[in-house]
């Protein structure tokens, strides 16, 4: 099923990661992402990225998934580099200069840091979404304490968008059957043609929403006592889940202490480590 149609990235595989409880996977994603985002120098940043990639590979996920997003990674890299050549924080020794564009050793290190941060976070997010079914992701969030109403709204949004997307296609076909050529014309012309799809789409969306809300209400949905309902679908944490989750949480705490109390994982710290 195409992603665009269903917003689901789940790729079924038989892997160690797939078998983990979704709450564990969420913890992997959150703890490693926090570390990636808080690290202020590229070497440790690279290490976290490598660890994220290892998790990704451990899930038997096809690298094609990453490759599909490759052009966004390259684009982001280019933007980061350009930004760092413009901003001059006055730190470090200048490596290269052209007019008022300058590159210092600090800015180079930070540019790499930001790059690795983004790569790590994207890999971890893809790891989560590709190895976990939507139902599990939601169950995982709930287990970690997210209120039911929030997860319900999230799931409903995905379903609604999915339905509206197929409505959009049907509307498009109906208009194309009246010779509306969606492919012809320059960019702005084609964009304008979408106006003829918006009217019917809005009308359809409104009636969908009306019907969906009646459907939900008719099954005794309560907003106020929402959390008190029974949850039929539950996942169980196994020993390995507790071990992984526990170790990562402890590791993250230790990491944060080192980072903020002792200044580890920053550029000055890195430079001081070089003999």
């Amino acid at each position: 099923m195409s992603f665009v149609r269903t917003f689901i990235l789940y790729i079924p595989r038989d892997s160690f990661i797939h078998r983990l409880d979704p709450a564990t996977k969420l913890i992997i994603m959150l703890t490693l992402s926090i570390q990636a985002l808080v690290i202020a120098e590229p070497i440790s940043g690279a290490v976290v990225f490598v660890v994220s990639m290892l998790f990704f590979l451990a899930a038997n996920l096809p690298l094609g998934v990453l490759r599909a997003t490759l052009k966004y990674w390259v684009a982001t890299m280019v933007i980061i580099w350009i930004t760092y050549t413009y901003s001059y924080s006055g730190q470090g020794s200048v490596l290269w200069q052209y007019g008022w564009l300058r590159l210092t050793d600090y800015s180079v290190l930070l540019a790499f840091t930001v790059m690795f941060r983004l790569f790590s976070v994207v890999t971890l997010a893809l790891l989560l979404y590709c190895s976990t079914t939507q139902r599990d992701i939601i169950a995982g969030f709930r287990k970690l304490g997210m209120p039911y109403l929030l997860t319900f709204v999230f799931a409903l949004a995905i379903r609604t968008l999915s339905v509206l997307y197929s409505d959009y296609n049907r509307i498009r076909e109906a208009q194309m059957a009246r010779a509306l050529e969606m492919e012809k014309g320059r960019f702005f012309e084609r964009l304008k043609k979408h106006v003829y799809l918006m009217g019917p789409l809005i009308v359809t969306a409104l009636s969908r929403v009306e019907a969906m809300s009646a459907s939900i209400e008719s099954r005794a949905f309560r907003v106020k006592k929402a959390g008190k309902r029974t949850f039929y679908y539950v996942t169980h944490m196994r020993t390995v889940d507790y071990v992984i989750a526990g170790s990562l949480l402890l590791e993250t705490v230790a990491f944060l202490v080192l980072r903020y109390l002792y200044g580890y994982f920053t550029v000055p710290w890195l430079l001081s480590m070089i003999p």
Binding site: M1, R5, T6, Q134, R135, A155, L156, I158, R159, S162, V163, S166, S207, R208, A211, M212, S213, A214, S215, I216, E217, S218, R219, A220, F221, R222, K228, R229, T230, F231, Y232, Y233, V234
Partner: protein
């Protein structure tokens, strides 16, 4: 005992200038199978929504008169409370489906009722078995046909094990045999569990076979009502109402105009067959005698 009562009930949405329901008077006995028919836009869906309190509690509007469901005065109650008595299924199966899988969809209602997980599982499997979808627990909505989604919608209403089951055009997406199956399922439920059934339907062939009573709703008011036999055999009375009578009834009407059929017109296939055979045999006997 009346499980549903409408007493001179009027309803108008806040945004509309016209009354949608006008002076509706209706009594439904417990265990009855009531069919509601009428042209589109006549207020049938609105009528259904009065039964579980969506009207007036979730839709802004003006109300006059009373509705009683299972002895509860709907105005004084609320939707979640009424849902314990009334299970409802709506017209468009696509819009009703809010979960990401069949299983998720069907357990949604019982989860909201706060039932135990064992009870939920039991009911879910039963409801899906009844509609013939027990092998499709993991299927996502985009993997299902319109008819399959409609069956899931029926199961989602059944699973609430309500005293009153309200179905708004539950067979619109189904093929003829599928339609027949739904009617027979619903009829069995009525028998085995004493469920009261209110079904909005155009399919007069199946209604003739299974419903106890039929009412005709036109422009918000009930203009005709009677036992299924009386209602559907009133060919003259229903002439300009837009109700499509069963073909066998229309045929029998032509014979009645020739004096060949006396008494109430047959409304079901089997009934018609028996009556025709009778006529032929009477004709033969007369021919033999003379």
């Amino acid at each position: 005992m009346n499980i549903i009562e409408f007493r001179d009930f009027w309803w108008k949405y806040e945004s509309s200038t016209d009354w949608i329901l006008r002076g509706v008077n209706l009594e439904v006995e417990e265990g009855e199978f009531l069919a509601v028919t009428g042209p589109s836009g006549s207020g049938k869906t609105t009528l259904c929504q009065c039964l579980n309190g969506i009207i007036p509690h979730s839709r802004p509007g003006v109300i006059k008169g009373e509705v009683y469901v299972s002895g509860i005065r709907v105005r004084d109650s609320n939707v979640p409370q009424l849902c314990e008595h009334v299970g409802m299924m709506f017209q468009d199966p696509e819009s009703q489906f809010i979960g990401m899988s069949v299983e998720e969809e069907v357990v949604f209602g019982p989860e909201n009722l706060g039932l135990s997980r064992e009870e939920i599982e039991r009911r879910m499997l039963w409801a899906l078995k009844v509609v013939g979808m027990e092998d499709m627990l993991d299927k996502a909505p985009y993997e299902l046909s319109g008819g399959q989604k409609q069956r899931v919608a029926i199961a989602s209403a059944l699973v609430m094990l309500p005293k009153i089951l309200v179905l708004d055009e539950p067979t619109s997406e189904l093929d003829p045999i599928g339609k027949s199956e739904v009617f027979s399922i619903v009829s069995e439920l009525r028998r085995d569990r004493k469920m009261t059934i209110v079904m909005v339907e155009h399919e007069t062939e199946e209604v003739a076979k299974y419903a106890d009573r039929v009412v005709l709703l036109r422009e918000g008011t009930i203009t005709a009502s009677g036992s299924t036999q009386d209602f559907l055999s009133d060919v003259e009375g229903l002439k300009d109402t837009g109700v499509e009578l069963p073909q066998v009834t229309r045929f029998a009407h032509l014979l009645a105009q020739d004096g060949l059929i006396l008494g109430k017109l047959p409304i079901t296939l089997e009934d018609a067959r028996d009556r025709i055979i009778q006529i032929l045999q009477n004709g033969k006997n007369r021919a033999v005698r003379s």
